[in-house]
């Protein structure tokens, strides 16, 4: 019973403990400037994880987010010149539409989401390769600064990305807590049969969850390409694992129904602190994958609601 009570609080306790440990080892870590730049760097990942939260919240998964972001970096780099700021609309619409497609495959054709999103990810990868001719692309620096410079500048010492992240978090929190969509998604995650028996058109809302996941992955890709001033079909590889880890470590279990976007904020910060601490230990980003894999397993094992799984397949 005590474990049951502690469980919801584990994520932020973990975050505090980790931060304190790293702070003791290296007092520089806790300097506001350092923390802020750290937070700014993680924003694309956070936005992606924010979207992914919706897919996991209903008990599904979206494995296409990384390919989606890859594709969007390519699209953004190519069409910035001709569309200007409108390219953002194109990117978000593409993400929303392809997410909707995953949702359609899952809810209407009963393709499990891990397969449908994997397949849609394959489509994204093809599109990215096709559009880019399989090359790395660069944005025109001046035009980038003119159109999207506001995204990556600083206000005082605060990176502007953080404002973007805060705005999106507020929007998602509003959707989750205050809208019919959020309420239905919670019901679907916690008990889909009861939601159906209440006469709700469950499928439509589930499709929207995947669409939101796609749209936010697209925003993450857009921000990423603006930061790097370019795009390539594999440039965002390495995002999928930490994004899933962020959602699950934050306390939204794979079985859905509990947790939410605030949890993902905490989860992303945990990922950021782990990453930073690894840097102090001299472990490079590419080598962190193994650790994150293990963290992922631990996080799932701790959060998953086994009473919802009749048989574990």
């Amino acid at each position: 019973m005590t474990m049951q009570r502690i469980k919801p609080h584990l994520p932020w306790i973990t975050l505090l403990v980790l931060t304190a440990v790293v702070g003791v080892v290296d007092p520089n870590f806790l300097r506001p400037a350092n923390l802020l730049s750290l937070a700014g760097d993680i924003v694309p990942l956070f936005i992606m994880a924010l979207g992914l939260t919706f897919a996991i919240y209903i008990g599904g998964i979206d494995l296409s987010v990384q390919s989606m972001a890859n594709m969007i970096t390519v699209i953004a780099s190519i069409y910035l010149a001709s569309l200007g700021a409108w390219v953002a609309v194109l990117c978000i619409a593409a993400g929303f539409g392809l997410g909707m497609l995953s949702g359609f495959l899952t809810t209407r054709l009963f393709v499990p989401s891990f397969i449908s999103t994997l397949a849609v990810g394959g489509v994204c990868f093809s599109v990215a390769q096709w559009l880019s001719g399989n090359r790395a692309l660069n944005m025109d620096a001046e035009q980038r600064n003119a159109t999207f410079g506001w995204m990556i500048g600083h206000t005082g010492i605060v990176p502007n990305e953080l404002f973007l992240a805060a705005a999106l978090l507020a929007l998602c929190l509003f959707i989750e807590r205050r809208t019919v969509l959020g309420r239905v998604l919670k019901a679907v995650g916690a008990g889909e049969p009861a939601a159906k028996a209440s006469g709700i058109n469950v499928g439509r809302y589930k499709m929207l969850a995947f669409a939101i996941s796609g749209a936010l992955a697209a925003i993450a890709g857009l921000l990423f390409s603006v930061k790097l001033s370019g795009g390539a079909p594999t440039i965002a590889n390495g995002f999928l694992l930490p994004a899933i880890v962020a959602v699950l470590v934050g306390g939204t279990p794979l079985t859905g129904g509990v947790g939410g976007v605030l949890n993902t904020l905490i989860g992303t910060l945990i990922v950021a602190v782990i990453r930073a601490s690894m840097l102090y230990l001299g472990i490079e980003a590419t080598q962190q994958q193994m650790l994150f894999g293990l963290v992922l397993i631990a996080a799932i094992a701790l959060t998953i609601d086994r009473s919802k799984l009749r048989t574990v397949k």
Binding site: A119, G122, Q289, M290
Partner: protein
């Protein structure tokens, strides 16, 4: 034979394969040249091994997404061990082969343990273990490429019989072995029992956990074989040796007609599936289409295959 849903599902993959071959051959007769067929066969072998492994798991109704990591790790370890043992197949380095098969089995078993013991759905358990495998491969190599230049070992690629490399024949023999395991051993049949009705199998006294663990270990062995073939084909290993194998293998197995829900299809379906996928990849190049369309096309194919094989009367919702 009646045109029932069952029959369509059973024969559709083979017909699709035939249709594709005819189509590509009609557009460009060079498609059927021996050199091109050998190219297809060679390109198929590592994916074929991975597909065989994951077939057993899908038949059980689970899924394994760890192959990229396992293949990379096994390939890297194989190369390092091979070099440590003398660098020549004749000079004791052959020991690396059984060692790496054991290594694959162990990693697969570990994935199985995470899945069965911690009761984590297999797609997530294996995805995470795949990341661990890739991460371990990076850790072991430090991001470098490891080369093997032993002529005896490379004979797998260079020694050709009737135009086909030696490894194609070995792969064919392994397909037969997998088929034998599936149809003639208790373990193979228990995969079907678990996939067809896990609770019923348990009630009949089948040790479902042990069957699951054995399935993942067996898959690991096939991934290790795939790693060896991959090294033989490329002459080197690095942390991305296994890249893209997950998508290709899962697509192949599902397109070949193995139902994701478990219990239906088997090794022969996987073989047909791998051939479909590789014929498409090769054929697109032969008829002059850019090969990067492949992933998108495979994505579409896999959806069609899953939709066709789903009995919608039995499924109330998918997550």
């Amino acid at each position: 034979m009646k045109l029932t849903r069952e029959n369509v599902i059973r024969w559709a993959p083979a017909l699709v394969l035939l249709g594709l071959v005819v189509l590509f051959a009609a557009i460009n007769p060079a498609f059927l040249s021996q050199r091109n067929l050998a190219r297809i066969a060679l390109a198929s072998t590592p994916a074929m091994m991975v597909a065989l492994g994951v077939t057993f798991i899908i038949v059980m109704g689970s899924i394994d997404l760890s192959m990229e990591g396992v293949v990379s790790l096994c390939a890297v370890l194989f190369c390092l061990l091979f070099l440590r043992l003398g660098g020549s197949l004749g000079a004791g380095a052959w020991l690396a082969i059984p060692a790496i098969l054991l290594c694959g089995a162990f990693f697969g078993w570990l994935t199985g343990m995470v899945h069965v013991r911690l009761q984590i759905p297999s797609f997530m358990a294996s995805l995470a273990m795949g990341f661990v495998g890739t991460g371990a491969a990076v850790l072991v190599t430090g991001g470098d490429i490891v080369r093997i230049e032993d002529d005896v070992f490379r004979a797998l690629l260079t020694w050709r019989i009737l135009g086909f490399p030696l490894m194609v024949y070995i792969a064919a023999a392994l397909v037969l072995l997998a088929w034998f395991i599936q149809n003639h051993t208790t373990l193979g049949r228990n995969f079907y029992a678990v996939g067809g009705g896990e609770e019923l199998a348990h009630a009949s006294g089948v040790n479902v956990r042990r069957v699951r663990l054995a399935g993942f270990a067996l898959a690991g062995v096939f991934y290790a074989i795939a790693a060896i073939f991959q090294v033989a084909r490329l002459g080197q290993a690095e942390s991305v040796t296994g890249a893209n194998l997950m998508f290709v293998a899962i697509t192949s197995v599902v397109v070949g007609g193995v139902a994701l829900w478990g219990g239906i299809g088997g090794v022969l379906n996987a073989v047909v599936g791998v051939l479909i996928v590789n014929v498409i990849g090769n054929g697109m190049v032969v008829i002059g289409l850019p090969n990067y369309l492949q992933d998108g096309l495979l994505g579409v194919l896999v959806i069609i295959a899953v939709v066709l094989s789903t009995d919608r009367r039995l499924v109330s919702f998918a997550k």
